[in-house]
């Protein structure tokens, strides 16, 4: 994280020692309602779910696409195929169950996704990057990302706020948001599409009519100007820009003492 490495003044400043990752985790948790079903990967989305479960949403169900429901890791996993995330689950199943009988069935309220790039309609690229001369560098592809973006009721993107990562035109549209601004149903997709982009500078939403990305709140200490400067696409601005709430004492205690005492995610540089 920027605040950890002191390499940038553009991201959320450490306010009273609160890191941008903590603001993001709390912001993610706030978007989750009790009883909802969430498809989640590792990293900050997983921290956000864990925080929500331990505070206002004890009946949240977290599903990992590999076939793990409500795991309770006691050691830090290195990835989605790490046995550490299988620990103490309530159910072990399969892609067909998690992505089929839950996500495709229309039962997933929230899907969390990361991104190499996101455009102003919330379309996501996780497949490849293009250099200045058009040369292509492949990365991970979709895996379940396109499925989640196509089918979850609300999609939440957690990513680093950089101009090149929020471009006018994606190098590749892996996972659809509002595509070219059309209604989701018109595109033939289920779910309501992208809901929030949570970055280390701000929280973005989408205009209900045009489906264009819109600034909702700036993290404490981050100026609207620097957000615009670090966004590659034109960003809708509200009349008044709110300030993202800081996590409270109890949330910070849970994040730091219970969920991620080693700082594996909260100290992390994330893409």
């Amino acid at each position: 994280m920027a605040t950890e490495h002191g390499s940038s003044s553009r991201a959320a400043q450490s306010v009273g020692g609160i890191r941008a990752t903590e603001i993001m985790a709390a912001a993610g948790a706030r978007e989750l309602h009790d009883g909802e079903v969430v498809v989640v990967g590792l990293g900050l989305p997983w921290v956000a779910c864990a925080l929500a479960r331990r505070t206002h949403a004890p009946s949240l169900t977290s599903i990992m696409e590999i076939g793990v429901i409500n795991g309770n890791p006691v050691d830090t996993p290195v990835g989605l195929a790490d046995s550490r995330i299988f620990h103490q689950s309530t159910c072990w199943s399969s892609f067909l169950d998690t992505l089929g009988m839950n996500l495709h069935r229309g039962l997933v309220d929230v899907g969390f996704l990361g991104a190499l790039e996101v455009d102003r309609y919330g379309n996501i690229n996780t497949t490849l990057l293009k250099g200045e001369e058009g040369q292509v560098t492949y990365v991970n592809g979709s895996a379940g990302g396109n499925d989640v973006a196509s089918l979850a009721r609300r999609v939440m993107i957690i990513m680093r706020h950089q101009k090149r990562k929020l471009p006018r035109v994606l190098a590749h549209l892996t996972s659809p948001g509002f595509v070219d601004g059309r209604d989701r149903a018109e595109t033939g997709l289920r779910g309501d599409g992208p809901h929030r982009i949570i970055t280390d500078m701000a929280i973005l939403g989408f205009d209900p009519d045009t489906h264009l990305a819109k600034l909702l709140s700036a993290h404490p200490g981050v100026s609207v100007e620097s957000i615009i400067e670090n966004t590659g696409f034109p960003l809708l601005l509200p009349d008044q820009v709110a300030t993202t709430p800081l996590p409270d004492e109890e949330q910070l205690r849970i994040l730091r003492r219970e969920i991620d005492p080693g700082g594996a995610y909260l100290n992390e540089r994330f893409a």
């Binding site: 046995s83 399969s94 492949y138 379940g144």
Partner: protein
């Protein structure tokens, strides 16, 4: 009762060049490396591979130049890095990649397993993934259709029925009844879709052990053609309940694959000069090292 226990060399000897092989690994878990090594040693050619999430198994086969076509959802070595050999082959055009999604591959395997030649799905619509698929080499595998009952638009996927499926499991008996501990990703549908199923088992048990917990039999014996018994057979990837991933080895692997020419060194050092998987395990640190990876009771890793 048929005794289906075979060596990897016997099994690979029966797989023709040009086969479509489905791999049961996921990123750094339960990779079918025992058979992958042998495929490389026997220098098979022109393979098609399919898998939801590629890991080291697919990366090795592509890196060794055995693969013409990939039908995949995605791929990664989790925090150890990317599937660099695969990505380099994509970039150079050395492999035709039919890039889909985890769910669409699962659905296509399910259709294959059920013996229905097509299945509808809502994923991929509106994405460049589909645009590329419909414009690409495998365009004939995709078709748009509105549901005749609801009018809802769907994409129809053609079923996948691989020639051979390889699955690494925790235990099997000599007839091929297999049990998998932990999540099963696409393994059940993938194996049941295939014409031939080969399992690599950490542990070979008596059929009576299988009969004690029949609800855990994910692939029944009559679907299985051969059982390869290979402890630590997925190393350096993890097998839940048996051993953890080998972080040092995976790091070394990615260090090799990051630079051009590195994979050849890795193949030379660990695979081509090994007589079999036990020999590879010996070169990778041997029993003493493997012992440090063994799962702790109650944790599974």
């Amino acid at each position: 009762m048929a005794d289906k226990v075979r060596t990897a060399a016997q099994v690979v000897g029966s797989i023709p060049d040009g086969s479509h092989i489905a791999l049961g690994g996921f990123a750094i878990a339960r990779n079918v490396n025992t058979v992958v090594h042998e495929l490389i040693r026997q220098r098979k050619k022109d393979l098609t591979l399919s898998q939801c999430v590629m890991g080291m198994d697919t990366d090795l086969l592509v890196g060794a130049g055995l693969v013409s076509r990939l039908i995949v959802g995605g791929g990664s070595l989790d925090r150890f890095g990317l599937v660099n050999c695969v990505n380099r082959a994509r970039e150079s055009g050395g492999v035709i990649a039919i890039d889909a999604t985890s769910l669409s591959i699962s659905f296509a395997y399910l259709a294959g397993a059920l013996g229905i030649s097509f299945i509808p799905i809502k994923s991929m619509i509106g994405s460049e993934i589909l645009a590329r698929l419909e414009a690409g080499e495998a365009a004939e595998r995709f078709q748009r259709m509105d549901c005749p009952f609801t009018g809802e638009p769907y994409l129809l996927l053609r079923a996948i029925q691989p020639d051979v499926a390889l699955v690494h499991v925790q235990r099997a008996d000599r007839e091929g009844n297999c049990q998998i501990d932990g999540p099963r990703w696409e393994n059940e549908e993938q194996a049941k879709a295939a014409h031939r199923v080969v399992v690599i088992a950490e542990e070979l048990v008596a059929t009576d052990v299988i009969r004690q917990r029949p609800e855990r039999t994910i692939i029944p014996g009559h679907r299985v053609e051969a059982v390869i018994h290979q402890p630590f057979g997925a190393h350096p990837t993890a097998v839940y309940g048996c051993y953890d991933y080998d972080a040092a080895h995976l790091t070394e692997y990615v260090r090799h694959t990051k630079r051009s020419g590195g994979i050849e060194e890795y193949l030379e050092r660990y695979i081509l000069n090994s007589s079999d998987y036990d020999d590879y395990l010996h070169k990778s640190g041997g029993l003493k090292h493997l012992d440090t990876l063994k799962a702790r009771p109650g944790l599974g890793y």
